[in-house]
Symmetry: C2
């Protein structure tokens, strides 16, 4: 540890990036490096991609090794931490809580009994009590946030806009129940509400419903709508979309994707626009009330 | 047609039973016959079971053959009609709307654009305008309704009761969006919200989530909670459960089933109790506020 890591100026301090799955962690790391920051990746075993992690200073740990993570982050001179990437709720046997975290075990198990919100905001508090500042990915790199309006050349039509409004209203209604952040609405029908299976598997269900002729919405109708839960800790779990989401939406025969502008993370806007145009679907950032700008 | 079919006394009039899938239509027909009524089954092709239908006076028709159905019901002297059994929203190509129904085509297509509620209450109105009285299955046979309290020997424990209350509250919240009538809640986590796939397939998802270790609730925890939508036409689409539901719940590793007492149909209480006890799950009728009596 040298003097610089103790310096308080933003550009000098090292940033700890706790990395889940997907490509977002590396988009964030690159954005931080472009701003002249040093990054240290804390790659979560089973979620982070070893090949991509290898390109940065990094440490591996299990999801439950909070004690090790905090100690290493301190040693690396990181006072700011950002969580990014997908972490599906881990199985208890994968937690491998280490001995240094033994003091927080009762709290962890209490958190694990709550919904995902509790788990995530609870973890945030644990870090803050140890003197770390928990940042939202978009505090580090605002360019990762979804803008208002379309990304790519397509726009929702009137029927899509009605489906989007219904989807956002439904997500507000289910928000207090701490369930998924995504629904599919087609021609005014709710086709799916996301549970612990995640967005990709929910989209797979639409494919199945179509092949079983359980839904009548013709190909090219219907919208995947995503929104953060009301009151969710935006530093830890903003919804995100990427080219893989576009692929899933295309395979499900939907017209497009609507997310809340400024409250959704998109790793690479240019690549997203390209993927959307190639798939012939729209990707649009809407207002929190579900209105398409 | 003889004089008796025109008689107005309840026991004498013939009852038209429009039959979807499952065993409920025959439980209802038997209950009506026990009361001394003549029944005529209008079996829906693709849904009703030909072997079971054959035991009663019957006519077959496609879902869309409303004109034919009304004409035959009049000929048979039926002034009262009851809809029972599962009818998953039919594919448009299965409707085969007949020429006698041509006058109601615009209305039908408008109905098909709405949610299931619209479709069902709309169909009810069409029958009533033609002079038929639409009855709820439990107006014909109150013994088909789920009672308050347990059917079978098991009761929900405190954790199950909390899951039940959460499930009922969630169903109230999603009710205005015209989606499924069932959810699964385990240890305070919402594991699934039913969409057009139906209860059986939703339960299949729990099996999959368990095998993918996406959920941590141990075997024997979690409740399938069913409730009618608020403001739903109870004459047409009360939720129902049967021994097959018990099998699905057992396979999903849940603790039991909670439904709203007096607003859920159970074909055969004795058989249900036996199936529940054999599977080691509870089946309980709760109050509309989700409280276990």
């Amino acid at each position: 540890m040298n003097e610089r890591t103790l310096n308080d100026s933003d550009g000098d301090r090292s940033l700890a990036i706790v990395c889940g799955g997907g490509s977002l962690p590396y988009a964030l790391a690159d954005a931080a490096v472009r701003r002249g920051r040093r990054v240290v990746l804390f790659a979560l075993r089973g979620w982070a991609d070893p090949q991509r992690v290898a390109a940065y200073p990094h440490h591996w740990s299990w999801v439950g090794q909070i004690g090790r993570l905090l100690q290493l982050a301190e040693k690396e001179g990181c006072r700011e931490i950002v969580f990014i990437g997908s972490i599906v709720r881990p199985a208890r046997r994968h937690l491998f809580v280490d001995i240094r975290a033994i003091w927080m075990l009762p709290r962890l198990f209490r958190l694990l009994k709550g919904g995902d919100d509790h788990l995530q905001s609870g973890l945030g508090r644990i870090f803050e009590e140890r003197g770390f500042r928990l940042l939202a990915p978009h505090e580090v790199a605002p360019e990762l946030l979804m803008p208002r309006g379309p990304v790519g050349g397509r726009m929702p039509n009137d029927r899509d806009s009605a489906d989007i409004a219904k989807g956002i209203a439904l997500l507000h209604a289910t928000s207090p129940f701490d369930i998924g952040q995504a629904v599919v609405v087609a021609n005014n029908h709710v086709l799916a509400v996301e549970g612990p299976e995640g967005t990709d598997q929910m989209l797979g269900r639409i494919v199945e419903l179509r092949s079983n002729r359980r839904i009548r919405a013709p190909l090219g109708t219907g919208v995947l709508v995503k929104a953060p839960k009301d009151g969710q800790d935006h530093r830890i779990d903003l919804p995100s979309i990427g080219p893989k989401t576009v692929e899933g939406v295309k395979a499900a025969g939907l017209a497009g994707i609507a997310v809340v502008a400024g409250q959704t993370i998109v790793a690479d806007h240019a690549r997203m626009a390209e993927a959307a145009d190639q798939a012939g679907v729209f990707v649009v950032g809407v207002d929190t009330n579900g209105i398409v700008p």
